[in-house]
């Protein structure tokens, strides 16, 4: 059996699960929810950078991303921050859709997978 490593998180979910050369990262939200969409997205991507580093990988090896926004009319604000973060030579596949999130001030949630080996 190939091993499974679980990093961080709590009894509800791991922050990162590693299996078969892939890092799966939980849906990440911003810590400071007083920030706007751009600010929350920046916080989330910085957290994802950290989680990917913990897993021994980086944004340069992203495979897929699912993004949920509480207000899709703010998608351009998200995309500006996203585009500045993504390596344009190595973008993941992506879906971005609207959804009610875990609190009224949670504006963005992002879940990614990345290759390790």
């Amino acid at each position: 059996m190939r091993p499974i490593a679980r990093l961080g998180g709590n009894a509800i979910n791991a922050r990162v699960v590693i299996h078969g050369g892939i890092a799966y990262v939980s849906g990440i939200v911003a810590d400071d929810k007083s920030a706007d969409v751009a600010g929350q997205t920046r916080q989330i991507l910085a957290r994802i950078d950290g989680h990917l580093a913990d897993a021994g990988t980086s944004k340069y090896r992203l495979l897929s991303a699912t993004i949920w926004m509480s207000d899709m009319s703010k998608k351009d604000d998200l995309n500006k921050v996203w585009s500045a973060w993504i390596d344009p030579a190595n973008p993941p596949v992506r879906a971005c859709v609207g959804a009610e999130l875990s609190s009224a001030t949670t504006l963005v949630e992002i879940m990614v997978t990345a290759a390790i080996d």
Copy 2:
């Protein structure tokens, strides 16, 4: 080519797809939709236990979970049942967001992946 096994389901979707040592399970809803969020979540997790067993794995080898709820204000009700089911040493990564589901009485839908080998 690595083989693909498809278990259960119908002409629209398989219940479980197995490939490359991973079991992919379809989004599962409760059979008895008169139940509340806690009751529907219990039914779903019991069905997922069965599907994982059919695939030769179990909740102890979960990789990821996506949870959709028709009313995110009931997330605590879901989490109580979820936490009692999950092995706290082996939680998957997870995202839980609000969404309109397939009927007005469908309160929760859960889609998971788990490692087999």
Copy 3:
């Protein structure tokens, strides 16, 4: 390190990412958004056929599909087109939920993965 191939798309997302014998396809929407749910679904599935072919695979090796609809009351319209497209011997796992999509006329978005090797 196993190689990652990225096909099409732009600096925000690749259209297809290939890694570890799996093709990940971005969430696909219809080009002609004046079409109804059935028409948009047909356009999307034709685009997915093309993306899978580019990746060296096909709908016969689908693993999973996530479908978002702006109006779940039209799910039967989607399912008719979906069922006619899917190989009934080789359906993927699937979840289909409601979500606000990227424009008011975007009625359906579909994201799939498929096995290559």
